[in-house]
């Protein structure tokens, strides 16, 4: 069940602004488990679960969009010119298989063969301004019939399980957060919960801005797939999170100082329930938590993430155990808030 859902979510295509396929799948998964389901103008999906209590209203945000590319035009050779959407690492773009447009046409981001490269070309970083996708078209006319400016281009990565319960796939940032939220919404709680699957996070947490304004939560919890650099070449003090060490609780990032009351409560609950946890040990990056904390007259906000190695690239790696422990921690959190254990 989990594996199948994660595979579909990871392989679904949805760069920022084009989240329809992800939204449709999530809607299907949530039918029957929540009360009202609705989308707003920007495409955010809201799942409402009434509780026996009126307050505090807990809002979750997990973003549906992924980083990728947008078609800007075609040239006389039939090559498709694209621009990046969100922070795609320029170093990982060359020589990738991609899917283009609504029909998911196969495409290739080619590079000049090493035999033909001048010595200085081999040491220069890839220039994203020269980024083109080869869709096998012979000329401009043929290419124009297949793609339009504005079409999305996504990495063509198949999802899979490997190693000791590890998952590999594209867009784990933040489809793994979407999967966590879907699982959490399948439970039942005393507190009112609004699960929001947001749009356009990767280009400036835009969906969450309007969603948080609409919901005005008392507590906002952002669910993310976050940086995990427990890899060779990174010193221990820069690893940020470690795979398999449990959900990562943020303390501060570029957009939010996560509310100390929530952070302390999450840590207390993790310890009391034997759930492994870790702090997210870096302050770079931002997420939907900032929009929740600053909506209207403000809310207490925090972020809980599943560590994901190699994010913002064609393939990331996460641990099933971390996923499960994240769900477990959030369920315990909602139960505890429902019992009035958190002073709001």
């Amino acid at each position: 069940m989990e594996l199948e859902q994660m595979k579909i979510l990871s392989e679904a295509r949805g760069v920022s602004g084009q989240e329809a396929a992800v939204r449709a799948y999530l809607r299907e998964q949530l039918e029957g488990h929540v009360g009202e389901l609705r989308s707003d103008t920007l495409g955010n999906l809201f799942a409402y679960k009434a509780g026996s209590l009126e307050r505090p209203v807990v809002m979750f945000a997990a973003h549906m969009d992924e980083v990728g590319f947008l078609v800007t035009g075609v040239d006389k050779e039939g090559m498709v010119h694209v621009a990046t959407v969100g922070g795609v690492d320029a170093g990982v773009i060359p020589s990738k298989a991609v899917k283009v447009g609504p029909k998911a046409l196969p495409g290739v981001i080619g590079t000049k063969a090493i035999h033909l490269q001048e010595p200085d070309e081999r040491t220069k970083p890839f220039d994203v301004k020269k980024l083109v996708v080869d869709i096998g078209a012979k000329n401009k006319d043929e290419a124009s019939k297949l793609v339009k400016p504005g079409d999305q281009v996504t990495f063509a990565t198949s999802f899979g399980e490997f190693g000791d319960g590890l998952w590999k796939g594209k867009a784990l940032d933040d489809r793994i957060g979407c999967a966590v939220l879907t699982e959490v919404l399948r439970g039942s709680y005393e507190v009112p919960v609004v699960g929001v699957f947001t749009v356009q996070e990767e280009i400036g947490t835009r969906g969450a801005a309007v969603a948080a304004y609409a919901v005005r939560p008392d507590i906002g919890v952002c669910l993310e797939g976050t940086v995990c650099a427990d890899i060779p070449g990174t010193e221990e003090d820069a690893e940020t999170t470690r795979l398999g060490s449990g959900p990562a609780i943020s303390v501060m990032d570029a957009g939010t100082i996560h509310h100390p009351v929530l952070v302390k409560h999450l840590v207390k609950l993790a310890k009391a329930n034997g759930i492994p946890y870790q702090y997210r040990r870096a302050i770079r990056g931002g997420n939907d938590a900032s929009r929740m904390s600053l909506a209207g007259a403000g809310a207490k906000a925090c972020a809980v993430s599943v560590p994901c190695r190699y994010i913002h690239s064609p393939v990331a790696v996460a641990s099933r155990k971390d996923f499960e422990n994240t769900v477990k921690l959030l369920r315990v959190f909602l139960e505890s808030v429902g019992k009035g254990e958190l002073e709001i």
């Binding site: 957009g255 100082i257 702090y279 040990r281 870096a282 600053l294 007259a297």
Partner: protein
């Protein structure tokens, strides 16, 4: 006023950890207001009912005036504890690695430590990730018993009087908080409803002002913050502000262009009351003014700045005569009609 400055600057309160400084300020302002509240992000809001009538808004109803000075100060946040007990950190607000070398820092629980650095061959390579905080722990376990990841430290540096000038950590913006506290003490009846807000999280992005202004929905906003000066030896700064030159009336910073009507009201009031003032155009940095101005459908907002040397170091210096000018100007503005 010196005692207030000593108390306010001495309190611990980096962004997001303003509890201690909030209590110090609350004790000082409570006797001079009708009501003191704390909102969800931790902003301290001191309310003084206005008298309405002459000088009030149309219809004689009091105008809602929001005053704002931020309580938070810059600092460091712990991101890692190594096996020998050294702490690694990131910045909370604008902290320079060059200023940090040799500093003593203190946490909210009183634990203090000294900043050390890895070997760097070229000072230009100095960055925050080359520095560490040594709290005297002999290993990871001992350190973790004293501080936790996410704990914040600030400069540990007391106030020094240099004649009419004072230097300390956190003048930015506890001196603005002092100005508001003193205004509340001296203000003898105002036609306006005054919401004096001691804001949180200014140093990380004007966050407290944004949510408190939304909650208050003011008709006029006035921020109080420090402004750097261009009067030090061989300063290449384009700033024309100077220490001892009087209250600085802001025309512009990165967050705001002060509406001419607001700026003119401040200038006119200073002239009419013989208060020393200077104009301020700040080419780098923003203030709560900008966050207040963009609240809901827009709020006319201005800023009175306290000229300050060595901003964001542990020895920020102000001139008491400037502080006094800022207080007088604010009292004069609040005592009369605000038509902007």
């Amino acid at each position: 006023m010196k005692e207030l400055i000593r108390d306010f600057t001495g309190a611990y309160g980096p962004s997001g950890r303003e509890d201690q400084v909030r209590e110090v300020i609350r004790r000082a302002v409570e006797p001079h207001c009708d009501r003191v509240t704390v909102d969800v992000l931790g902003n301290l809001i001191a309310f003084r009912k206005g008298q309405g009538g002459q000088g009030a808004a149309a219809g004689g109803e009091p105008l809602k005036v929001m005053l704002a000075a931020h309580m938070d100060e810059i600092g460091l946040i712990i991101t890692h504890i190594d096996e020998k007990g050294f702490l690694r950190f990131a910045n909370v607000g604008g902290v320079s690695p060059h200023v940090l070398i040799g500093q003593r820092m203190v946490f909210g629980n009183g634990v203090s430590g000294s900043i050390g650095t890895e070997r760097v061959d070229d000072i230009k390579q100095l960055a925050l990730d080359k520095l560490f905080l040594d709290i005297g722990a002999t290993g990871r376990e001992e350190a973790a018993g004293l501080v936790e990841i996410g704990d914040m430290a600030t400069y540990q540096r007391g106030l020094v009087e240099h004649g009419g000038r004072l230097s300390s950590k956190a003048m930015d913006d506890r001196i603005g908080c002092v100005v508001i506290a003193e205004v509340l003490r001296r203000l003898q009846g105002s036609p306006h409803d005054v919401y004096a807000v001691f804001t949180v999280q200014e140093e990380v992005g004007l966050r407290g002002a944004r949510t408190s202004a939304y909650g208050i929905d003011p008709g006029f906003g006035l921020a109080f913050d420090v402004c750097p000066v261009g009067d030090t030896p061989r300063s290449k700064s384009i700033l024309n502000t100077e220490l001892g030159g009087g209250a600085a009336i802001k025309a512009k910073d990165v967050s705001v262009v002060v509406p001419p009507a607001v700026k003119d009201l401040l200038v006119k009031t200073a002239k009419a009351n013989g208060i020393a003032y200077q104009m301020e155009v700040l080419p780098a940095g923003g203030t709560d003014t900008g966050a207040i101005q963009l609240t809901r459908s827009g709020v006319p907002a201005g800023c009175i700045s306290i000229p300050t040397r060595y901003v964001h170091t542990p020895v920020e210096m102000v001139d008491l005569a400037d502080v006094e000018a800022c207080v007088k100007l604010a009292v004069a503005v609040l005592g009369g009609p605000i038509e902007v």
